[in-house]
């Protein structure tokens, strides 16, 4: 029987994940039966949301949960044929058998690289779009703060806010990323939180306060934003990456929500499936017009997925972190 590689979690990380928490394992793979297909990974996505799963939901000694784009190799499924590209959530497997459940066709537009379907035009983009416009109820021209603004979701959220005529502040953790946010994404104010105390930099950057804080970080970032929130401000909570590796600095400024009537709300990409068609149309237009810029950090080689995931928590990604498995 043929074999294919999988990325397994072999022990639960203590704090920040390390290489030894993962293993590349060869597993036998069957032939597709009637109603099934065999697909090979083309691109895999690694995302911050995967970290909390490693503590509980993710099974040990099983493929890491996750999504990507795969190419159909052989098909005995009526809806798919060899050569089709599909978006999938089959996890980190070099090849896999599928009955079609959870697969969606990807038909790349001319002029757009396939990788874009893993970020701006994929779940990452939908997360930013729905989180900002629906959960965050963004209104044109508002004052917006986006944390990890050079990250995959943050960079899309920040630029959507710019497209909507908002004043946009972004925070990031390196000079390179700050330069990209200023010069390419063209935010109104950019904070490198390593340069000065965040609360101070943010207050200086937000003379009219904050109507929407697109929250990716938690902890100190949230404590810095709360005193600046305007009345009826919204905090759509996409992530709290500062807390994922066990470093949970308690948030102290929550009482400020009361008189400011701040609304804070969690969401995940699948909450916005009803927006998908509008999102695709808007985003394709913004990409084509150059209003939506992006960065990618692509690691070549299936076996580098753990390195990519670990790198997210060390800020090694500029924009979306991806693993390229095959061309």
């Amino acid at each position: 029987m043929a074999v294919a590689r999988q990325i397994h979690l072999v022990r639960r990380p203590k704090g920040k994940p390390v290489a030894e928490d993962f293993a590349v394992v060869e597993a036998p793979i069957a032939e597709p039966q009637d109603g099934q297909l065999l697909a090979e990974a083309v691109i895999m996505s690694v995302d911050p949301y995967m970290r909390p799963r490693l503590d509980a939901d993710q099974a040990l000694d099983a493929p890491l949960l996750g999504g990507g784009i795969a190419r159909v190799l052989t098909s005995r499924h009526p809806k798919f044929k060899a050569g089709d590209l599909v978006r999938h959530g089959a996890g980190m497997q070099e090849r896999f058998i599928s009955d079609g459940a959870g697969l969606a066709p990807v038909v790349p537009q001319a002029g757009l690289p396939l990788t874009v379907y893993m970020h701006a035009l994929g779940g990452t983009g939908l997360t930013a779009y729905g989180g900002l416009l629906e959960t965050g109820a963004l209104k044109d021209g508002e004052q917006v703060f986006v944390s990890t603004a050079a990250g995959a979701v943050g960079s899309v959220a920040a630029q959507i806010a710019k497209i909507k005529g908002c004043y946009v502040i972004g925070s990031t953790g390196s000079a390179d990323k700050a330069a990209w946010l200023r010069d390419t994404a063209r935010l109104d104010a950019v904070i490198n939180y390593h340069d000065a105390p965040l609360a101070q930099s943010l207050a200086a950057a937000a003379p009219k306060g904050i109507d929407v804080y697109f929250e990716n970080v938690g902890g100190e970032h949230l404590d810095a934003a709360l005193p600046l929130m305007n009345v009826r401000g919204r905090i759509p909570v996409c992530g709290m990456i500062s807390t994922y590796n066990g470093d949970r600095q308690g948030v102290k400024n929550l009482p400020l929500m009361i008189y400011k009537r701040v609304r804070m709300e969690g969401f995940v990409a699948s909450d916005f499936n009803h927006l998908y068609a509008q999102f695709q149309a808007d985003m394709a237009g913004w990409l084509a017009s150059g209003q939506m810029q992006y960065q990618e950090t692509v690691l070549d080689g299936f076996q580098r997925a753990p390195e990519g995931l670990i790198g997210l928590f060390e800020g090694r990604n500029a924009g979306k972190m991806l693993i390229r498995v095959s061309e």
Copy 2:
């Protein structure tokens, strides 16, 4: 010129307010001019929300901001006559001159003591009603947790939830209050947070999780509730009394909001003015039918207002804390 007493803040409290932070001061009081009236305090309200003001908004050496019911003594105002009872926000003054702005007539119903207009039928009740039904978007039959459930707002919120057919858990800090919640307010589960670690008691009391957490406390209470919140749970934030005296234990479990899609939102009573007529009709009916029970802690004497306010943070109130100034 006549004089009248006022309660002043004479220095900003460090932590829990103490008697020395306040003074009873005699101030001259003029005669009402055309378009004005002279009123005397009948009942004054002391509330947890007053504490944060003492750190900033409240002027030193000026009457404490606050509300109450007063009786018109002499009137040269077209809309009010001597003997009228009015709800006011003129602060802690034994007598005061008003041009009528911010005054609303109070016409007590037969069978209801005037004090009820300072809690169940007043701003306290409206806060609970709007916070639970509008901000909290309570649905009949949901799982509800109310902190400081024997307090003025909490006791109303908990009983509204019972009236709406919900399973209601209440937390409180003494055996007497716990007994009242069980035997008189008839909650489904009552937690005395001095008896056992709160997270443990709450988990045991909430086998079906929590759909709505009516938040009055913050800190440890919020950290105990977050792991139990159901998907799309709501946390209307009425207050965070545990934090008001400077003891800000950071909240660590906020990342749980994300996958649970929890919505947390601050509010104040005036957000619900549009609900006022419906609230009055509902509440009068519930009081008349006995479905809404209440407790009052009434201190007699104008000069006891600081004692009343301080007592709130020591849990000395059963239900609403009031100061009776005159009959």
